[in-house]
Point group: C2
Chain length 511, copies 2
C-alpha cells in the first residue's frame, strides 16, 4: 500500500472517515474514491460501502474471485472478494459498482478489503479484446491508443500530477497578486521569428482563398508560438501577469523533447528593474511548486513504486534527487561568460569545444548543471546578444571589454536559461528592451523590419508591439517554461509524448 | 474611494500594513500596489512610500501638480502631489515611480495622498499622441487598439475579474477532487458536426500539400470546437475531470455573442447515473464562484461605479441582481415539454409561436428565465432528441406518449440548457450515450457514419470515441459553459468582444 497523506487533496479528508463523508462529489454521485478507502481503517467492519471503478484483474480461488479494482485515484488497487455466483461480467476493463463490507484483511497487501454483497456491471468489457492489459506494455505500444492509455494506473497518476501542479501554480500566483490571463491563440505574428508555425484557415475556404492569404481574418494568421508579446501588453495594464496557455510549433524534429502542441507557463512583470527579480520569481515558483507537491499522494506514489528499466521512466532515486534539488534555496547564478571559462578549463571532456558566441551544447549544459549546481538548478545569464531573440535588453557595454575572464568579449543581453540536471534547459527569461529606439535597432539587426523602410515592413506585423514602447513602457521582464517538460522532469517520464494525454508531433495526431 | 475588502486578494494583506509589507512581489520589485495603498490609513505620516504606475491625468495648481496615478490594481486612482520643479515628464500615459510621504488628505476624495519627494519617469509618454484619454472613449474606438485598451481602468478591472474567476474555479474543482486536464487543441474531428471549423496547416507546406489534405499530420486537422469527447476518454481514467480550454469556431456571424476564439469551461463525471448530478455540479460551481467573488474588490468596484449608458455595460443594478440570482439556492428545473406548455399558454406574447420540436427562441428563453426563475437561473431539461447532438443519451420512452401535458410527444434526450435572465443560455450539459449500440444508431441517424458501411466512414474519424464504449463505459455526463460569456454576464459587459483582451471574430484579428 502506498504511504503518504493526501497532500493537496487533504481538504477532502474529514477527521473521521465515514462512508457518507467519503463520497466523491455530492450525495447523489454514489461511491467513495479508492484512494480514500485505502486510507480508511475503521476499528470494526463497516457495511454498505459503495465503490466504483474499473476491473484491473480477476483471480479465481475456489468459490471466490479476488478482484483488483482501480479508479484512477491511486496507483494501488482495491482488493474486493466476490462470490463466484455474483462474478458474472467482472471482466478486465469493465466499469463496475461494488457494494459490500469494509473489513480487516488477513493478507499483508492492504489493511482492509471489500467483501462484496452486490455487483453492478455499469459498463461491460470484452476482456479478450481489451487493449490495456495488466502485464507490461511498452510506452510505444500504449502511445498508439491515447484514448485508452490514461486507464493504466501510472498514466492516470500523471493526469493527477498535472492537475495538482496547475492548482499549486494557480495558488502561488494568486497569492502574489499576479493576474492570470488568456492571451490569444490565433495571432498575426511569429514571436521568435523561427518560421515553424501553423497557419489557421476556415475549413469552408477553398485552397484558392488560402492562396489569397486567407479571407476570414483578412490576412494570414498563425497559431501562437509564445504569448510573451501579448503578456507584455497586459503587464502594462495590470503589472504582474501570467498564463498557462497552449503554444504550437510545426517542428519536423522527431525527438523525445518536442511536441507540435504543448502548454507554456509564461509570466511577465512590469516595473521590474533587473533580471534578478525575474530569476527570483522563477526560483520561488519552482520551489513553491515542488515543496507543495512533494508530500502529495501522487508524487509519493510515483517515487515509491517498483522500478522497471523498460517503463519509460527515470529511476525513482534519480527523480527524488530532482525534487530535492528544486526544494533547496539559493540556486547558483553564473554568467554565460563565466560558464564558458569553466567549460574551457575542462575542454577535453567535450566532443564540441566550448566557445564564446556559440550555443551551449547539451554536454556543456549537463556539465554546468552537475558541477555548478551540485543538485540545485543553475541560472546561466547574459548570453551573447546575437544568439538570442530581438526583444531582449542589451547589457551596458563593459568599460574595458575582454580585459578579464568575467568581462564578455562581445555584446550580451539580460537573459537567463535555467538548467537542471539531466534535462538541462527547463526555463528561460529576460529583461525586455523597453525603449523604442534600441528595440527598433534590434529589429533591424534581426531583419524583422527593413533597414530602409521600417514602416512598410510593419504593416500588419509588430507595429502594435512597438506602440507599447511609445507610451509608458517601464522596465519589464519575464520568463517562459515548457509545462509538459517540467512535468516530465518531476515525474521521471523520459519522453514528452508520454506526459501529454493526446500528444501531437510530426506525423502523429491521433484522436 | 472604492469600498470593499480585498476579497480573494486578502491573503496578501498583513494585519498591520507597513510599507515593507505591502510590496508587490518580492523585496526586490519596488513599490506598493495602489489598491493596497488606498486602503492604508496609518495614524501618522509615513515617509519613503514608493509606488509605480501610469499617469492618468495631471492637473496644475499654482506651484504644484495633482497627479492621478493608476496601476491596474484598482479602478480608483491614487492622488499624488508633485512640486512643479519635479514635474517634468509627468505626461498622461507615462510609466513612473513616485517616492514620497503618505499623509492624511484634506480633500473628500480619499483619506490619504502621496506628497512626492522623488519622481522617476521610467517609460515616457507623448501625451499629445497617446490614444487612451481620460475622457469617454467608445467601446468601438477602444476595440481598434486591443494592445492599449487594457490600460483603461475598467478594462484592467475586467482582467482582474477573469483572473479571480479562474482562481476561484480552480479552487472549487480541486476541493472536489476533479482532475484538471489539458485536452488537445488540434483535433481530428468536429465534435458538434457543425462544420464551422478552422483547419491547421504548417506555414511551410505549399498550397499543393494543403490539397493533399495536409502532410504534417498525414490527414486534415482542425482546431477544437469542444473538448468534450476527449474529456469523456479522460473521465474513464480518473473519474471526474474538468478543463478551461480554448475553443474555436469559424462562424461568420458578426454578433455581440460570438467570437472565433473563446474559452470553454467543460466538466465530465464518470459513474454519474443521471442528469440531476450534472445539474447539481453546474449549480454548485456557479453558486460557489459568485459567492466567493461577490465581496471581492473588483466586483464591488464594478458594481459601485457611476453608470454611463454609452459605456457598453448593463446598468449596475441589473448586474447586481444577476449576482444575487446566482447566489441563491435551489434553482428551478423544468422539462422542455413543460416549458413549451407554459409558453403556449402565453402564445400571444411571442412573435414566433412556441412549438414542441422547434428550438426555444430567444424571446421564449427570456420569458422562462424571468417567469420561472424569478431571478434564479433555470434548468430546462429533456429537449427533443432530434434538436440535439448525437452523443446525448435518450430518455426512456414514456409508457403512454402524449397522454398528458408532462409527457413529451416524441423522443427526448437527457440534457439541459441553463437559462439566466437577459443573457439566456449560459451553459448546457447532458448525459452521454454510454452504450455502444444506441450510440452507433444515433450516429447513423445524424449521418455521422454511413448506414451502409459504418466502418469505412470511421477511418480516422470517431472510431476512438466508439472504442470508449467497447470497454468499461459507465454512465457519465457533463456540461460546457462559455467562459467569456459568463464573464460578460458577471461584469455587465454587453458584447463579448469587450471581455476578451485580444478578440478574434470574422474579419478581425488585431495584434
Amino acid at each position: 500500500m502506498h504511504p503518504a497523506a493526501l497532500g493537496l487533496r487533504r481538504a477532502l479528508r474529514p477527521r473521521v472517515l465515514r462512508p457518507d463523508h467519503i463520497r466523491r462529489y455530492s450525495s447523489q454521485q454514489p461511491g467513495s474514491s479508492i484512494a480514500q478507502l485505502l486510507q480508511w481503517s475503521p476499528p470494526a467492519e463497516v457495511e454498505n460501502v459503495v465503490v466504483n471503478g474499473f476491473v484491473r484483474s480477476v483471480r479465481s480461488m475456489k468459490s471466490r474471485r479476488f478482484v483488483s479494482l482501480g479508479d484512477g485515484s491511486s496507483l494501488a488497487a482495491l482488493q474486493a472478494l466476490v462470490g463466484a455466483d455474483k462474478a458474472e461480467g467482472l471482466a478486465v476493463g469493465a466499469a463496475v459498482r461494488l457494494t459490500g463490507s469494509w473489513v480487516a484483511s488477513p493478507g499483508a497487501g492492504q489493511s482492509h478489503e471489500l467483501h462484496v454483497s452486490k455487483v453492478e456491471v455499469l459498463g461491460p468489457s470484452d476482456a479478450k479484446t481489451y487493449p490495456i492489459q495488466k502485464k507490461y506494455q511498452s510506452p510505444e505500444y500504449l502511445r498508439t491508443m491515447p484514448h485508452l492509455r490514461p486507464r493504466t494506473p501510472v498514466n492516470a497518476a500523471l493526469l493527477r500530477l498535472r492537475s495538482d501542479a496547475i492548482a499549486s501554480l494557480t495558488h502561488f500566483f494568486a497569492n502574489r497578486a499576479f493576474t492570470q490571463t488568456h492571451p490569444p491563440i490565433i495571432t498575426s505574428s511569429d514571436c521568435e521569428g523561427a518560421g515553424e508555425v501553423f497557419t489557421v484557415t476556415p475549413a469552408s475556404e477553398t485552397p484558392d482563398s488560402v492562396l489569397k492569404d486567407g479571407e476570414f481574418f483578412r490576412a494570414k494568421k498563425y497559431l501562437t508560438v509564445s504569448t510573451q508579446l501579448h503578456l507584455e501588453a497586459l503587464s502594462q495594464a495590470v503589472g504582474n501577469v501570467w498564463t498557462l496557455s497552449p503554444a504550437f510549433r510545426a517542428e519536423k524534429s522527431d525527438t523525445s523533447r518536442h511536441l507540435s502542441e504543448f502548454y507554456m507557463l509564461e509570466a511577465e512583470m512590469a516595473f521590474a528593474d533587473d533580471l534578478s527579480i525575474v530569476m527570483d520569481l522563477t526560483e520561488d515558483m519552482l520551489r513553491s511548486l515542488s515543496t507543495s507537491l512533494f508530500g502529495s499522494a501522487v508524487v509519493q506514489e510515483l517515487l515509491s513504486r517498483p522500478y522497471n528499466a523498460d517503463s519509460g521512466f527515470a529511476p525513482p532515486d534519480e527523480v527524488k534527487r530532482r525534487w530535492e534539488g528544486l526544494m533547496q534555496t539559493s540556486w547558483p547564478r553564473i554568467t554565460y561568460t563565466e560558464a564558458i571559462a569553466l567549460l574551457e578549463e575542462k575542454a577535453d571532456l567535450f566532443k564540441l569545444k566550448p566557445s564564446w558566441g556559440a550555443g551551449l551544447q547539451s554536454e556543456h549544459e549537463k556539465y554546468i548543471a552537475e558541477h555548478v549546481g551540485g543538485g540545485k538548478p543553475v541560472f546561466v545569464t547574459n548570453y551573447p546578444r546575437d544568439m538570442k531573440a530581438f526583444y531582449m535588453r542589451e547589457n551596458p557595454k563593459p568599460t574595458s571589454p575582454g580585459s578579464d575572464t568575467n568581462s564578455p568579449p562581445g555584446p550580451t543581453v539580460e537573459c537567463f536559461d535555467l538548467l537542471v540536471p539531466e534535462l538541462c534547459e527547463i526555463a528561460g527569461g529576460s529583461m525586455r528592451e523597453h525603449r523604442l529606439e534600441p528595440l527598433l535597432e534590434a529589429m533591424k539587426r534581426h531583419e524583422i523590419i527593413s533597414q530602409q523602410d521600417p514602416d512598410a515592413a510593419l504593416e500588419g506585423g509588430l507595429d502594435w508591439y512597438l506602440d507599447l514602447r511609445r507610451w509608458g513602457s517601464p522596465p519589464h521582464g519575464g520568463f517562459g517554461l515548457g509545462f509538459d517538460r517540467l512535468l516530465c522532469y518531476l515525474s521521471g517520464v523520459q519522453t514528452i509524448r508520454d506526459i501529454v494525454a493526446f500528444p501531437r508531433w510530426v506525423g502523429r495526431c491521433d484522436c
